[in-house]
């Protein structure tokens, strides 16, 4: 059996590992535009010079040899010949497959604001290649503008502040990290970043740019007329699935590559997992999707079940936050809040079940909350204990010593 995987991110690597584990004799080829396996969640540590190409990796250095995987790196895929079962590369060569996994991930979205798309000093921060292009410029730059205050934007802000740069973050919403955090929790990070020299312009949008004769944007104007001088612009305005290789093929696409609950696309023996499949942008989910796809590729029928994706953790300047759920209260919900010098906690309960929880500060032993939300466990009668629950409240031990929930 010849397996081909496009992409060496969380989904692709997990799939490869699973394939090798389940089928010691199969052939595995991985194809990627990336030249290094790297964790996208740590790219800011590359910009801050805390990690290099090797220490960004999330696999052992001998991963490909140990698992007997042929890795074709730095090789963009042009298209997939579904009929002939071939992956056709930009370099003119092609790879035959029996089973194919598309795990190409996503690319930064650069909105068509002014000359963002034409200028040579505007970048997304998604791939190591982005970080490699940014670092020589950011090392020289004095003034850096970051558009968007989501996790990627704040990661970038952290990295440049560590380098002593003048950093401005522009955000459309009236608070930072608006998807993950409410006002109170966001304010705690805003204070920390400001204490490290960051400037925030909230409730504002970049609307015009000025490009100098070297092709670099030297100032950006906001919708309220504010002018921000800059040597470098990082756009953290979300991502779009990296679909190029599946376009103009019979593979069914609707913004993302459409997959069944076994992660199979509309074409038999072709699977998709991770960001390109559009089910979730979260690392753990990408790993599970890659694993699910790989099991099916080896003929072990497996359904992708663990779909809960409204989850995040973050850690800036030692302040840790766990955020589960949308965090938006509806009429009739029970909203509980607690605060002390080091912690802020907020939970939303709906009909006796946990809908959302935000823990900022101490997040010890908080893994149970994802289970309680995901499985909609009835907490009637103990709603007000929500911040004090532990696995002890649901304690069960199986014969083999593993834990199980008693609810």
């Amino acid at each position: 059996m010849k397996h081909v995987i496009i992409g060496v991110g969380a989904a692709g690597i997990t799939a490869a590992k699973t394939l090798r584990e389940k089928d010691p004799s199969c052939s595995i080829t991985m194809i990627s535009t990336d030249t290094h396996v790297h964790s996208r969640c740590m790219l800011h540590r590359y910009l801050s010079h805390e990690r290099n190409e090797d220490t960004l990796s999330f696999v052992e250095p001998d991963f490909f040899e140990t698992n007997r995987i042929t890795w074709i790196k730095g090789a963009p895929v042009r298209t997939i010949d579904v009929e002939q079962k071939l992956v056709c590369l930009e370099n003119g060569s092609s790879q035959p497959f029996d089973q194919l996994l598309i795990a190409t991930g996503a690319n930064s979205f650069i909105p068509p604001v002014g000359q963002f798309r034409e200028a040579n000093n505007v970048f997304g921060l998604r791939n190591l290649s982005d970080a490699q292009a940014i670092r020589p410029l950011s090392d020289q730059a004095d003034k850096i503008l970051i558009v968007g205050s989501g996790l990627v934007g704040m990661d970038a802000a952290y990295a440049f502040l560590e380098q002593g740069k003048d950093v401005t973050v522009v955000e459309m919403a009236d608070r930072i990290l608006p998807i993950q955090l409410n006002e109170t929790a966001g304010q705690a990070y805003k204070d920390l970043f400001e204490a490290h020299g960051c400037r925030f312009l909230l409730g504002k949008k970049a609307s015009e740019t000025h490009m100098n004769d070297q092709g670099a944007i030297d100032f950006v104007s906001l919708d309220d007329g504010t002018r921000i001088d800059c040597d470098l612009v990082i756009v953290a305005a979300g991502v779009r699935p990296a679909l190029e290789c599946a376009q103009d093929t019979p593979i069914d696409i609707d913004r993302f590559i459409k997959v069944s609950d076994t992660m199979e696309t509309s074409c038999p023996n072709i699977y998709a997992a991770g960001d390109v499949a559009g089910l979730s942008g979260i690392w753990p989910n990408a790993m599970k999707q890659g694993q699910t796809a790989a099991l099916n590729m080896c003929g072990i029928h497996t359904v992708y079940e663990d779909r809960y994706a409204m989850k995040n953790t973050m850690n800036f300047y030692g302040l840790v936050t766990l955020s589960l759920g949308r965090g938006v209260a509806e009429e009739g919900d029970l909203v509980l809040e607690e605060e002390d010098a080091h912690n802020y906690r907020r939970a939303i309960l709906r009909n006796g079940k946990l809908d959302s929880i935000l823990l900022q500060g101490k997040i010890d032993y908080s893994g149970i909350y994802q289970y309680l939300i995901k499985n909609q466990i009835d907490l009637s009668g103990r709603e007000t204990d929500i911040f004090h629950l532990s696995f002890a409240d649901f304690y069960g031990v199986k014969d083999n010593g593993g834990y199980q929930y008693q609810v």
């Binding site: 969640c41 790993m287 973050m314 030692g318 032993y365 908080s366 149970i368 696995f391 010593g401 834990y403």
Partner: protein, 150 residues
């Protein structure tokens, strides 16, 4: 694989296991008689919850068959050894994102209290090349090591 089995009905909440774990993972040399129990850098990998009815629930890493912590690790710091079954943690690789804390369904993991840069995670006392220290210290045999099939 070998697993620390738990018979919660035998636990009388003495916390010998907790102190043994703190001693086993302390950074400074010394004996249990000079272990500073109030130093936040001396943290236990296990903990015991007391229930309203007076019973106790030991919470110990299960080194799960399908470890959710490993399936959330974006740095490669958490791995499950296919031979021994041990889920080990390499703090040098860790990116301190704490998705593993979020993903452990049994609420076993936590961030270290002093620096919030690493995860407090059972290592089965592998460096000691012997029974885990918590197991050795349990006077009630409420925890014991047994070979289990995956």
């Amino acid at each position: 694989m070998r697993r620390i089995m738990i018979d919660a009905s035998k636990c009388d909440g003495c916390k010998n296991c907790t102190v043994a774990c703190m001693q086993a993972h302390r950074e400074t040399p010394g004996t249990i008689y000079d272990l500073d129990l109030t130093d936040i850098r001396n943290e236990s990998r296990n903990h015991i919850e007391k229930m309203p009815d007076g019973s106790y629930r030991p919470i110990f890493c299960r080194h799960c068959d399908l470890p959710e912590c490993v399936m959330s690790c974006m740095s490669g710091a958490l791995t499950k050894d296919p031979q021994t079954g041990i889920v080990s943690y390499d703090e040098k690789k860790c990116g301190s994102c704490f998705m593993c804390v979020m993903n452990c369904p049994y609420g076993v993991l936590k961030a270290d209290t002093a620096t919030h840069t690493k995860v407090i995670k059972c290592d089965f006392c592998l460096l000691d090349n012997a029974e885990p220290n918590c197991v050795k210290s349990c006077p009630k045999k409420a925890i014991y090591v047994e070979e289990v099939s995956l």
